[in-house]
């Protein structure tokens, strides 16, 4: 996966950002995180939809070790695909609207301003069988875990042939058994 030009990280990786991840949306599709730590541009979806999907993505695969920009980057993949796929665009827009509708019913708040993670997850759980949820989840399987920049954060070292494999680099170095 290459770096998505639509997502910028304004500061170096931070640890867990507790709670809500999107600080706001602005004109021109701008979506920005707390403390201005990262910003993304929604090119085809509207900024609110984009922002909701970022929150949903983190709720789906919550990793405190991952900076929010990783989730934004995964959503950007869908945002880009929505350009030539009207059906996808509708699915994402309506899906995000449904999240908000459920949230309003529960807590009189939009999905991404709903402060309890458990509440948000309960909504996701109720939509688990929907094509929309599966689209977001499926996108993350590669969008998040196949992002090479994320690998070191999980302790996965990736390609090793060019380094001569692990024969001299600890293939059997377990020391606690």
């Amino acid at each position: 996966m290459t770096t998505n030009p639509n997502v910028t990280r304004r500061t170096a990786l931070k640890g867990a950002v507790a709670g809500l991840i999107v600080a706001g949306t602005g004109a021109g599709g701008l979506v920005f995180g707390h403390g201005n730590a990262w910003a993304a541009t929604a090119e085809n979806l509207d900024a609110d939809t984009f922002a909701t999907l970022v929150q949903m993505s983190r709720d789906t695969y919550p990793h405190s070790r991952l900076d929010d920009s990783f989730y934004a980057e995964a959503v950007s993949v869908l945002d880009t695909a929505a350009k030539d796929d009207a059906g996808l665009k509708t699915m994402l827009t309506e899906g995000a609207a449904k999240l908000d509708k459920e949230a309003m019913g529960l807590k009189a708040a939009s999905y991404r301003t709903m402060s309890s993670e458990d509440d948000r997850v309960a909504i996701l759980k109720s939509m688990e069988g929907d094509g929309f949820f599966q689209k977001i989840r499926g996108n993350l399987v590669t969008g998040l875990y196949n992002n090479k920049k994320a690998w070191p954060l999980f302790g996965y070292e990736g390609e090793s042939a060019s380094k001569g494999g692990y024969i001299d680099r600890g293939f059997n170095d377990i020391d606690w058994l």
């Binding site: 789906t60 695969y61 919550p62 990793h63 070790r65 997850v121 996701l124 989840r137 399987v141 590669t142 998040l144 875990y145 196949n146 690998w151 999980f154 302790g155 996965y156 070292e157 990736g158 390609e159 090793s160 042939a161 060019s162 001569g164 494999g165 692990y166 024969i167 680099r169 600890g170 293939f171 059997n172 170095d173 377990i174 606690w176 058994l177």
Partner: protein
């Protein structure tokens, strides 16, 4: 490297260049037989392989449309991808992990040994351990299998050490780094294993045996073997006497050609091989070629499989080093007191982070799933592989409406687990977890089967023509100059990973074909 004319009707044509086809082609060429291998996929050499799971998957996997049905979980999790098979010169031996085990003697005689198992279509192989012994020996030498021919075992990586320590605590005895077709030291002009850890993505050091690097080049060097990549066979043709005469294939631009042949050998793996026979139906053979028994496509086996992953409180780095060099064999025996017939092996396995996300718990999400991924570094893993029961209804059929890029019906793979498979999987999951718990696992996870890597049985070998598709030489009962040369010949699956047996059968078949040709019988 030879090139043969499409009108040369004296050649042997082999469909597919994997474990079966690639070995057979090389061996026939070394015996002086003119041979053409038609391979649907492209030719990617060692330097083209990628240490990148999805990248490699996209590069060499068989991704032509397939459908699934039945109650197996793969149909739900991976409905369009029933099997993980390679479409490239070398076939699935590019992906394979190298575990090379002989069948146990009794496994050649499953019907006799296991008795009546309701719902299972068990049959004894028409060959046995004594018959196969020299062919196994030849295959082990050709493939450079560790712990045979004086070749030392591979060193154990950290993932193996965890497995070994747990297994020893439980009192298991047959625990070692496997019989692997991976060089533990340089041999046969190939280097030793560098512990790169991407065995499934095509070995970049050349240590791992594949038909691409170890067999086909030797065949080509004789001047008797031509391998034609990007040529997908669509139909096998025959004459009025019911002998096959050649194959129709499409080249990479989709142009169709006819290659004449004296003998045709089908080795497209256990989904494409029966599909090709069925797609070759004619007015003379309305149910497909070699299908007088009605068994073509039936008895599809995929091994009882599953994986156990465990998280420990300290790092394992299971992905470092040889993927499958580690085995516990104590449960491979036939011991019905465990509640099932047949046995299973426990073998080390690791997936990289990207594949772990896709396969650990397909469809899984949320905090629990994220916890597993967060602990990737501290994970150990094993694969469970055992004998599954052949069932007539587990079968490859032609889809009624869906067509592939050539306008041919796509294959549907229907599969239901047999009660014996389920009981065995349950037992194996339990033992796998016990191994890791014995060395202090924080948590263990039962991962369901991946898309099938061991595809077997759909053109099975039988003594009687009414019971199966091919005789003990892989020659079809119905058509003398038509052979099946891959894992689809398997009468039953045994507990062991199948490739050593596929290769041994191919070497034996080469001997038979060359002999019959020189006698003028075919």
């Amino acid at each position: 490297m030879a090139t043969f004319d499409k009108n040369d009707d004296s050649v042997v044509v082999i469909v597919g260049s994997g474990a079966g086809g690639g070995t057979l082609g090389a061996e026939l060429a070394m015996k002086g037989v003119k041979t053409v291998i038609l391979e649907a996929g492209g030719r990617h050499e060692t330097e083209d392989f990628q240490n990148d799971e999805w990248g490699s998957f996209g590069q060499i996997s068989w991704l032509d449309k397939r459908t699934t049905s039945g109650s197996w979980r793969v149909a739900k999790d991976f409905s369009g991808l029933p099997a993980w098979i390679v479409k490239a010169v070398g076939g699935s031996t590019i992906h394979w992990a190298g575990a090379s085990l002989r069948f146990q003697s009794h496994e050649w005689k499953a019907a006799t040994t296991y008795g009546n198992v309701p719902g299972a279509n068990l049959l004894d192989w028409p060959i046995d351990a004594i018959e196969m012994d020299p062919w196994y020996a030849k295959a082990e030498d050709r493939m450079g299998v560790t712990r045979t021919n004086g070749i030392p075992g591979l060193p154990g990586n950290s993932n193996f050490k965890v497995l070994e320590a747990g297994a020893r605590k439980l009192g298991y005895n047959e625990v070692h780094t496997g019989r692997m077709a991976i060089n533990s030291e340089p041999r046969d002009d190939r280097s030793g294993c560098m512990q790169i850890g991407f065995c499934f993505q095509g070995c970049k050091s050349g240590a791992k045996w594949s038909t691409l690097i170890a067999e086909i080049p030797k065949g080509e060097a004789t001047g008797k073997l031509e391998v034609r990549p990007n040529c997908q066979v669509l139909q096998i043709q025959h004459n009025d006497q019911g002998k096959v005469t050649g194959v129709l294939y499409a080249d990479k631009d989709g142009n169709q050609h006819l290659q004449l042949a004296r003998v045709v050998c089908v080795a497209g793996n256990s989904i494409e091989s029966p599909r090709l026979l069925l797609n070759s139906a004619s007015s003379k053979f309305p149910d497909g070629l070699a299908n007088s028994s009605g068994q073509v496509g039936r008895n599809y086996m995929r091994h009882m499989t599953g994986s156990v992953y465990a998280v420990f409180d300290k790092p394992v780095h299971m992905y470092r080093g040889t993927t499958m060099a580690g085995i516990v064999q104590d449960e491979a025996r036939h011991d019905p007191s465990r509640g099932f017939v047949g046995g299973y092996e426990m073998e080390t396995l690791s997936l990289g982070l990207p594949f772990m996300a896709a396969f650990l718990d397909p469809g899984g999400w949320g905090k629990d799933f994220a916890w597993w991924m967060d602990n990737y570094e501290n994970m150990a893993g094993m694969w469970l592989v055992g004998e599954d029961m052949p069932q007539e209804t587990n079968r490859i059929t032609l889809h009624a409406t869906e067509k592939d890029q050539f306008g041919l019906p796509v294959p549907n793979v229907n599969f239901d687990d047999h009660a014996n498979d389920i009981a065995m999987r349950e037992h194996a999951f339990g033992r796998g977890e016990a191994i890791y718990n014995a060395v202090g696992a924080v948590k263990t996870f039962r991962t369901p089967p991946y898309p099938s890597t061991h595809n077997l049985g759909t053109n099975r070998m039988s003594e009687k023509a009414s019971d199966g598709v091919v005789n003990k030489h892989g020659q079809t009962h119905d058509i003398k100059n038509l052979f099946v040369s891959d894992g689809s010949q398997f009468t039953t699956g045994a507990a062991e990973n199948p490739t050593l047996t596929i290769v041994a059968l191919a070497l034996r078949q080469a001997d038979f074909i060359a002999g019959e040709m020189s006698k003028g019988n075919i």
